[in-house]
Symmetry: C2
Subunit: 315 residues, 2 copies
DNA sequence: CCCGTGGCATAAGAAAAGCTCATCCATCAA
DNA sequence: TTGATGGATGAGCTTTTCTTATGCCACGGG
């Protein structure tokens, strides 16, 4: 989890310049000179080895590469700004802040959270879906963050998908996961039925960044490998989504076959929205864990939540 | 949309130090000396006016403030890293990259996208859900990004919720939105029925960061104001979610009443998952727009998508 | 109890990064 | 053609950041 990042100030300048499509205006915004902007952009381009702007005499234009990365870049700075903001308007009013991966939140936590609220109506909850709660590849899981501040009001717990190696934290295992292929039942039974893995060659594979992160690589290719059809089915083609939630949605819309984590999709399978056509389950070592710094582990809100969560997880 | 950010390098150092809970280890990771880390942290603390670490003789511990902002911070750096990554492994294979706000993607685009894939099977699509596509308050909508690169393969279009003021871009209005209160039908007809806005006093209000951004402030308070019950119902209390998707999910789980955007929730209302108990609709000036740089506006993939999208939007 | 060790803080100088100034070049419009 | 606009460039200066060296404090073994 070591970030390999370019000079951050240059990135910030780049963002501004891209926004204004003008070095001059960016310079004004950043309270520096146009020359400084020009230098920063140039150094960033050199660093990346990629041209970011086309200089067309008067004015500049973004290259494709630059444009492609801009939304993400924005999102990044936005998150940083929000993070800094958080330090100031500290979530003091909240008793319990739960940070969890998006799919887990949407498919597992939310359907159950109402029950928790009912049982503990006095606990003020804040739920944050954050893609950062997946420890890449369930490997290098080491790095998460501790705190031992004894005073203060908010109790922040996190739910991670990882290998369970969180030194210095109280970590409670919720449940393990397995990777399965899922699709709409109508698609599976349709004109081109999906019975054996090789049938996938006739269908669209739905990819998403989150599963690739969990699998530490191209999730579909690994799955196809396990299924023994890597040579028959092209595991790279198909639409790609930024989140597993989206690819599941696409699958239920009969767009193709997606990879998913059990038991998160169990409800979808039970309701008939999705089905798992094969018996093949890739079993990563990862599991969902409830993590919190030891110091806050015994606070009433945290204890109540943990008790409730563990009971839910056992069902 | 001018980012007010602290020294970014200091942030990066902080993140590493927080991760290791050790200035020394952070220094090693960053290939600098422990003294440099100490300096950076100190300068960041001075800048923010907030203590980030407790120095307890041997070793350091995070303060509550520091811990609160860390997940976000991670997310930020992650997005930056991903952005940079994108520059290199350029999405060259993708014909059409669609970036859109999460709720729009999940509730509107995805249920329809299968149809597009069916009609245009040859177009390789990539869907990115990004919270950055909401132009805060539908005000200061100016700043989005252009590109006029004529060559290159990928066509990136974005869907924004904003005021429609996108100079230099081709912007097609999809549809306007209105803000409504939604809840589970069972809740509305339950023991404590929800008939008039004042009844909200007996129920939990579900908040989320996304709606607050659209409303440019506390969405619930504005809504209660419009409904004329701002004095009877406390618009600040209740659980808080990071995304509108989550608060809708919470609402459908009978956790309380959420704010939502029509027509995005129309499908949920039609299916009976949710209902809109009041006739009050806060009508912001914003609408969803399909935005793309003029230069790529006439590419086949973009034209096909726009045509399809506009037709879908008119239904 | 005392000293050794580990880990952070601090000060001053050195190195690097970032900025400005002055000037140049290309384009565009009149 | 000419003036105006906006970007590029190089030299030198400023500010930031890093290092080295040293001090301080807490903990733990003898």
């Amino acid at each position: 989890m070591i970030y390999r990042l370019p000079p951050l100030n240059a990135l910030r300048v780049f963002e501004s310049a891209a926004r204004h499509l003008s070095f001059k205006d960016a310079a004004t915004e950043l309270s520096i000179t146009q020359a400084a902007v020009s230098h920063q952009i140039k150094s960033l381009e050199d660093y990346l080895g990629v041209q970011l702007f086309k200089r067309a005499g008067r004015g500049v234009q973004l290259t494709e590469a630059a444009r492609a990365c801009l939304p993400r870049l924005r999102e990044g700075f936005d998150a940083l700004a929000a993070a800094v903001e958080m330090i100031h308007v500290r979530a003091d009013e909240t008793d319990l802040q739960i940070t969890a991966p998006p799919v887990f939140t949407a498919r597992w936590l939310m359907p159950r959270l109402a029950d928790f609220q009912k049982k503990e109506p006095k606990i003020d909850v804040r739920v944050v879906g954050s893609s950062k709660m997946v420890d890449a590849g369930a490997l290098d899981s080491a790095a998460i963050v501790a705190s031992h501040d004894l005073r203060s009001d908010t109790s922040g717990v996190e739910i991670h998908l990882g290998a369970g190696d969180y030194p210095g934290y109280r970590a409670d295992r919720l449940f393990g996961v397995t990777t399965v292929a899922v699709a709409s039942p109508q698609l599976v039974k349709g004109a081109q039925p999906v019975k054996v893995p090789a049938d996938l060659a006739n269908h669209t594979l739905l990819h998403d960044d989150a599963m690739d992160l969990v699998a530490h690589g191209h999730a579909w290719e690994k799955w196809l490998d396990l299924a023994g059809v890597a040579d028959k089915v092209d595991g790279t083609r198909g639409p790609r989504f930024s989140s597993n939630i989206l690819s599941l949605e696409a699958a239920s819309q009969k767009m193709g076959i997606a990879l998913a984590l059990r038991p998160l999709v169990d409800a979808d399978i039970a309701s008939g929205r999705l089905c798992a056509p094969f018996n093949i389950e890739l079993k990563p070592r990862s599991a969902y864990y409830l993590i919190c710094p030891e110091v806050i582990a015994e606070r009433p809100a945290v204890v109540a939540f943990r008790k409730w969560l563990l009971r839910q997880a056992q069902k």
